[in-house]
Amino acid sequence: MAILEVKDLEVYYGVIQAIKGISFEVNQGEIIALIGANGAGKTTTLQTITGLIPAKAGKIIYEGNDITRIASHKLVSMGMAHVPEGRRVFAQLTVLQNLKLGAYTRKDKKEIEETLGAIYKRFPRLEERKNQQAGTLSGGEQQMLAMGRALMSHPKLIVMDEPSMGLSPIYVNEIFDIIKEINDSGTTVLLVEQNAKKALSIADKAYVLETGKIVLSGDAKELMNDDSVKKAYLSE
């Protein structure tokens, strides 16, 4: 069953059309990857889904509800979390304050504590540094914090924008392992990545974006062996 459907989506920045009518689906329990070069419209697509940028035309359906015109802050309590590009942790606040803000829409204190415990278990480094200002963490740790913060809302669908950007190779592997784990524990993942190789290695299905259009889509394993994908995105 599709948890998220994007239909004929068009997005403009002023007069420039960034997204030229794309459609795709994310099924419950899957990892879906959107891959493509810089400027292909990956981040724009995600930001339109989570309401940060308005759509000019088309529809976004989440769990059967039209969310095309719904404000970002309302989507969180509907079960959608967004790990933004560049992590955007609250640098002046502590790690713990950041995590608690992730649970902003939840009321039950006991449940929040339980989620926090689970997140500390998954990211032990966040517990070690819980009283440290988020801005003092390394890039990889900030990415973990951004993911942990999104998980604090207990999402059904987690949308991740370039989680591996700017990280050292060791962290990149770790981050992708964690994404797989998050998915294994039942959360659907929509992933945008420039690191196509890594993204395809964990995704179920993938869509290739080029200048605002989907040019290719299919099973992630098949795309990995596709000649044009290999040439353009896997640098082989």
Binding site: T50, H82, Q92, G135, S153
Partner: protein, 293 residues
């Protein structure tokens, strides 16, 4: 002994500046705008108390509560009508709008209450203190002002650090987009900030008019500008900065009046601001803004 007396009344004046500066600094920190109409909210608070207490003859405390309610409503309305539609606009457009709102409030007050100064009856009933065998006397207004300022600072700090809304304010002040992704309603958070700032302006109005009991439509304008200076002084966006900036400003102003020249006191205050900003462009407690690449 007279030095001590000038110092204490300077701290009291500074406390009023600090309470006003809090409104400036919170709104700037969270909405990233300078609300130049903030000073005139003080004046509206003053007239609200004047109307309730002197005209309708009700208790001073009721007057303050009414004024706080009126100012809160006014602040939220101004934000909704004048500033919210400009959320994505350039900061210059917002600044000009704020100046426009300031003139609007002054002229509305002029229309309703006229330009004659009204004699404001102090809302403070506490008697003054005489210390050191009567050589040092401190008025009730001075004591109450300082106490109120301390209470406001402590409660506001606790509010921001301990409550959900306070944490939302911190999040919005750092990154509006990321805050929205946490499920925080950014517009509502900004509205709450205006509500708190305006209620504080009403309290500042009560204290200001009790200490300097002459009320005109322009009463809020100069203290508003000085409180803005205090906020910049201490580091705009910083709550302890507003307190520190306000107190320093009040003390410097009062001591200059006493020992140098009452005509030059404002010039001295503003020169000090220029010097501080030359040395520390972000103010005394201001945070250095790190541009991320």
């Amino acid at each position: 002994m007279s030095f001590l007396s000038y110092l204490i009344s300077g701290i009291s004046l500074g406390s009023i500046y600090a309470i006003i500066a809090l409104g400036y600094t919170m709104v700037y920190g969270i909405a990233r705008m300078l609300n130049f109409a903030h000073g005139d909210i003080i004046m509206v608070g003053g007239f609200a108390i004047f109307t309730v207490v002197s005209t309708l003859g009700m208790a001073p405390l009721l007057g303050i509560i009414t004024a706080a309610a009126v100012c809160t409503l006014l602040g939220v309305t101004i934000e909704f009508v004048a500033y919210r539609p400009l959320r994505g606009a350039s900061s210059l457009a917002v600044l000009i709008t704020a100046i426009g709102v300031s003139y609007l409030l002054q002229n509305l007050a002029l229309l309703i209450f006229g330009s004659n100064a009204r004699q404001f009856t102090s809302v403070v009933t506490m008697p003054g203190l005489k210390l050191a065998g009567g050589r040092l006397s401190i008025s009730g207004e001075t004591i109450v002002t300082i106490l109120v300022c301390i209470v406001i600072m402590m409660s506001l700090t606790a509010f921001i650090n301990k409550t959900r809304i306070g944490q939302a304010m911190l999040a919005v002040s750092e990154d509006r987009g990321a805050a929205a992704l946490m499920g925080i309603n950014v517009n509502r958070t900004i509205a709450i900030t205006f509500a708190i700032g305006s209620a504080l302006a009403a309290i500042a109005g009560a204290l200001l008019c009790s200490t300097y009991p002459s009320l005109t439509p322009y009463t809020g304008s100069m203290p508003g500008i000085k409180a803005f200076v205090a906020a910049v002084f201490g580091g705009i966006g910083s709550i302890p900065g507003a307190l520190l900036g306000g107190i320093i400003l009040g003390v410097v102003e009062n001591l200059s009046k006493a020992y140098i020249s009452s005509q030059l006191s404002d010039a001295i205050v503003f020169s000090l601001l220029i010097v501080i900003l030359l040395v520390r462009p972000t103010g005394i407690l201001g945070k250095k803004i790190n541009e991320k690449v």
